[in-house]
Symmetry: C2
Subunit: 220 residues, 2 copies
Amino acid sequence: MDIALLGGTGDIGEALALRLAYDTTHSIRVGSRDAERAEAKAEEYLNELDSRGLDPDLTGHANAEAAVDADVVVLAVPAYHLADTIEAVADGLSGVLVTPAVGMKRDDDGLHYNPPGAGSVTALARDAAPDDIPVVGAFHNLPAGRLADLDSTFEWDTVVIGDDGDAKRTVMDIAEGIEGLRALDGGGVANAGEVEAITPLLVNLASENEGLHGLGARFQ
Amino acid sequence: MDIALLGGTGDIGEALALRLAYDTTHSIRVGSRDAERAEAKAEEYLNELDSRGLDPDLTGHANAEAAVDADVVVLAVPAYHLADTIEAVADGLSGVLVTPAVGMKRDDDGLHYNPPGAGSVTALARDAAPDDIPVVGAFHNLPAGRLADLDSTFEWDTVVIGDDGDAKRTVMDIAEGIEGLRALDGGGVANAGEVEAITPLLVNLASENEGLHGLGARFQ
């Protein structure tokens, strides 16, 4: 499958690029607003994978080019860039749009979930996407640093959210290709808020409890 | 320690009564609005524990009587009964008040977090409690059925929330007395919403994913 990671040079984009290239045989397109930066980061990821004896199909592109005709387009950009990133690539979209972004704000007590007016970032992405493009929320609660460290092992869940069952299944299958990651069906987009809200909790737990860092969640 | 479980005849109250009596040496007071019902349920719990060779210090009382001078008072009542339950027992309170309640509403998509105007149920309890009584949020995301089944084993976390560090530590120590339960510090009451919101997510995951039921969360 052709998977485009828009914002694939950022933390969670890098983590997904490395893990998907390491654990699966999908074609990975690393996207950035700046094509040269995307190419440089793709080169960096390839070097890392080459040092582990892998030669994956992984390339760097401008976001719009990465998105064209991809089976799955992951919006690995901050929540406040979501709508304009979708608008910038909308013409070339034909597959499933995936959003891992979470809206958060920090105050004296810690990090808090800060949903947009649409109710959740997943709902915001759905509203911003072309009508015929299914939107799926996934990969929300994964610590980018540990995910990007290919020596790290874990047992985490990703809760996958969406109103289109086939699109959701496609994304769940991709997620389960990552070793140690289990994909759970979280229901429709209306259920996204409770999933997105876990991310600030994980950050708070890591900062409040000695010895815990880079936390994911397992539901058992 | 003397632990009063107000609403100790309900699902989560029963689960905490059985587990605390099974795994710890605390004195457990089962409270109910109806003293006779509390006594009958306490008898039922004692029979269950007796069948496992245990003779714990566990008794049934009217809520107000159970709460008097208890070291810890757990408000195992629905969120909408929280404020009036606190009011009914306020005169006898001297220890730590613990709230495991979560506000939820169901719609066509599933169960959703439905925080009260105070921002979270924990904040609502804090606002309703006498000023000198510390309020701690804990035991939010535990499935009552599996917790009450003493043959069941698990590895779950409970995130403990509160603005009084000593009170929080007391509750964390009690929680860790339950085998398989790890208590994590979630920070202050302002962080409670993200913790409480996990409960509807756990219910949705159990209903959307075959083979999963009675889910708790582990952060790792």
